[in-house]
């Protein structure tokens, strides 16, 4: 049916000259005939397959293919805790400080602050000057009251990121419209990395209140602003603003023409929901997207072979690790540190990195990924594959022939997209090279495994960890401190480590911190409750027309300077 006939048809429909049966018949006919015609002709308006690129996206728009459906939930600073959406969040909302290059994890820069914090002599009061003349997307001017509202709201919503506003300070107050003072619970050397987290961004309190936000104690039950934000609205100050939100279709960020800083080079960035990593790459290769967010190690090789594509690579701060219970119940033989060390020497780390991860990973010494503070200093203490040493340690342990139960999340992927079935099968084979040690694989429902692991019920499991902020303490504490997060799950407790953690977070001198955290990491390596298998590299596939895009270990993609060539 031609366009003209369609038009006539619709006119007749509107004028009531077509009844419902005829309309349904027509729709059915369209449904039946059109796909076949399109498939045979290449579609209306489709260019010849020889034209390259067939699907041209203009140079002012960047299209990113990402699994939005499973990884994006909101861009509300009070509720966000997802990883992938950080890339959009840091464009839309801004915190006080920013880390432009995550390969230099100590080089933070003021963003909505004008200077680094001034800390009182006792380390408990932190005063921060705010940038003047900053306007929200609504046109409202940013003040210290907006900051106080945003952080109080985050605290009272009591969701995932609320610890950022609950755990570290007693109070936040506006000294004047452009100065805030934070009273810390205890001196905190990681305060700048914490303040660079996107949930601590400053949002437009006036606009948010008008749309259901509250910072009251019962905000967890009464705040409804997330629905307003998820309708495609923005209350931020960033160089882009959210204009459309459909995680099953597209999320669109448009350039903020009134941005206080250097304006963005792109007019818009579109995140397009494509769930499957292979399909994401195909979309980039076919010119339907500029960048594929998810890139499995297995398909990364095809990117380097395609001259229209580039591989954007950078370090991540994720780790995949083995957790071994240190108490007799449920650890059994693995509660013996010599058995754990034997396992540490039996694992073929190079095989995991080069064969399974196709070289897109490194082996950090322990639970702190490189290049965080003190990780270089403990490099020579990391486990290396040495089967003789493994056998010797196992025999020294005196536990005799034993079987370990190795639990993992069935059908899941580890950090960097590695299939856990493949990884665990390899680990089983590696460990069983120790005479007298057998490993029974125990695939579990992911939710049940997580619950059992967190309850400290698993003898031996594999898990992943990603950072909350860019400081060594966000790894050293959960893995090292008694009764905290990962340490609690394996019953790990070392009073020396606890004391050093107290000293490390309070120490403001960087050199002294290196010494303290080197000792902490060295002790964690020796105690061997955790063995880190690998630290993946972040890899993204992009068309060569994409410029100035970098991977980022916290914001995932750094797009503030992004541009495209024709």
């Amino acid at each position: 049916m031609t366009d003209r006939k369609f038009q006539q048809y619709v006119e007749r429909l509107h004028s009531g000259r077509i009844n419902r049966r005829r309309l349904l018949g027509s729709v059915a006919a369209t449904a039946v005939v059109a796909p076949a015609l399109i498939a045979s002709n290449g579609g209306v308006g489709a260019a010849s397959p020889a034209a390259a690129p067939r699907r041209q996206i203009d140079a002012t728009t960047l299209v990113i293919a990402d699994n939005l459906r499973d990884t994006w939930i909101t861009l509300d600073p009070g509720w966000i805790y997802e990883i992938n959406s950080q890339a959009g969040m840091i464009l839309n909302y801004e915190p006080l400080y920013i880390l432009p290059d995550s390969s230099k994890p100590t080089e933070f820069e003021p963003l909505l602050a004008t200077d680094m914090p001034a800390v009182s002599d006792d380390g408990l009061e932190v005063t921060i000057p705010l940038r003047s003349g900053v306007k929200f997307h609504s046109g409202n001017e940013m003040t210290a009251d907006d900051l106080v509202f945003s952080w109080t709201r985050l605290k009272n919503i009591k969701f995932q990121a609320s610890f950022l506003a609950l755990d570290y300070w007693d109070s936040v107050e506006a000294v004047d419209p452009l100065t805030v003072k934070i009273t810390l619970k205890s001196p905190n050397a990681a305060i700048v990395p914490i303040l660079a987290s996107t949930p601590l961004s400053i949002s437009d309190s006036k606009l948010l209140k008008e749309n259901g936000a509250t910072d009251a104690e019962d905000a967890d039950q009464t705040d409804t602003a997330r629905e307003w934000i998820n309708a495609g609205n923005s209350a931020g100050t960033g160089p882009f603003k959210l204009t459309a939100w459909d995680i099953e279709g597209e999320v669109v960020l448009e350039k903020n023409p009134d941005y206080w800083g250097e304006p963005a080079k792109l007019d818009r960035i579109i995140w397009r929901n494509i769930v499957d990593p292979n399909s994401q790459l195909q979309a980039v290769q076919a010119g339907e997207a500029d960048l594929a967010y998810s890139l499995d190690p297995d398909i990364a090789g095809s990117v380097t072979e395609d001259e229209t594509l580039q591989l954007i690579t950078g370090p991540s701060l994720a780790i995949e690790y083995l957790a071994m219970h240190t108490q007799e119940d449920p650890g059994g033989p693995i509660a013996n540190a010599l058995v754990r060390r034997a396992i540490g020497h039996a694992i073929d780390y190079d095989g995991i990195i080069n064969d399974l991860m196709k070289g897109a990973a490194i082996q950090p010494a322990t639970i702190a990924p490189e290049p965080l503070l003190a990780t270089v200093e403990v490099q020579d203490q990391k486990y290396v594959t040495d089967l003789d040493m493994a056998q010797q340690l196992f025999e020294e342990s005196g536990v005799g022939p034993v079987e370990l139960t190795f639990s993992y999340a069935a059908g899941s992927f580890g950090e960097g997209g590695l299939d856990l079935e493949t990884l665990c099968t390899k680990l089983q084979a590696d460990i069983q090279q120790i005479d007298g040690l057998t490993v029974k694989l125990n695939p579990m429902d992911p939710a049940v495994r997580l619950e059992d692991y967190r309850a400290g019920k698993l003898q031996f499991t594999v898990s992943g960890w990603t950072p909350d902020y860019t400081d060594i303490h966000t790894y050293a504490e959960p893995f090292g401190r008694t009764d905290t997060a990962a340490a609690k799950r394996v019953g790990y407790s070392n009073p020396d480590v606890d004391a050093m953690l107290d000293a490390g977070i309070a120490e403001l001198d960087p050199a002294a911190r290196v010494a303290i955290y080197s000792d902490i990491l060295g002790q964690i390596i020796e105690d061997s409750a955790f063995l880190v298998l690998y630290q993946p590299l972040d890899q993204k596939a992009a068309r060569t027309t994409v410029q100035d895009v970098a991977t980022h270990s916290v914001y995932m993609l750094f797009l503030r300077n992004a541009s495209k060539t024709e």
Partner: protein, 339 residues
Amino acid sequence: MGLWAFIARRVILALFVLIVVSIATFLLAHAVPGDPITAIMSDRQANNMEVRAALERRWGLDKPIPVQYFYYVGNLLRGDWGESISRRTPVAQELRARVPATIELTFYALAFAIIVGVPLGIVSALNHDRWPDHLSRFITLLGTSVPVFWLGLLLLYVFFYRLEWLPGPGRLDVGMQAPPEITGMITFDALVTGDWTVLFAALKRLVLPSIVLGSFAMGIVARMLRSSLLSSLGDDYVRTARAKGLGERSVVIGHAMRNALIPTVTVLGLTMAGLLAGAVLTETIFSWPGVGSFAVSAALKLDYPALLGVTLIVATIYVLVNLFVDIVYGLLDPRIRST
């Protein structure tokens, strides 16, 4: 029993089925080991009892299971389907957006199944045990046995990536706005509003997922029609029609087909309900925002409100299809009404 009494009885039974389904789903979801709050809590916050308590309060999980069920039903009757735990959005809003997408995909998949399956079945039956029959049976065998995920990825690779004849995953082209929502089915809405650009873009994006989803139904339709037609072609009334000197076309289309289509249509009805509920893999491969992908995500994260919402919708579809079939049978054959 009169017709209206028969229909009333069937409707009451259908409501009873839905109540039983809701109770069973509620109990089963809570009986499964695992905890939805644990599933959404980060490692960092996992031991924070204040945050856990706030989340349990938010989703009513701090109350006993029977109380939770009655709250749920009470809210349901007021039109509140609850809030998804994993997505933190109203379940009703999610379903409102997804059901039309799944219905649209199912409609085109069914259209593909009929367009290809019916001719294949006819050709097969009319050329019994000759090469067109063997070829047709081979195609239908492929349709029913090729795994959906494999076919989906293969078609994407060939027609989207290699040949560039058809677009990739998604319902619309990059940056394209959907027409004003009337039904949520983009092709229908675009047709009614006269937005031809969107209509053709949406149709192009429906071709591959429709083929993938419809291939199984196509195989079933063709095989059922072949079998029924072969049986009809050997019946006395067909022989009589031929003896009267009717042309072969008239005999096949006018006489044999009419009877052969009855079992095919019955199977097609049930297949349609299955397609509506079972488009999970197709929706995942083609990033299609339908009910199937929502169901998988909800099940993996033990998202009780979302799971219940999806189950009730799917159960309602099955119940309505069965109710419709029952009523039609009752209309066609009064003897059924008395049983």
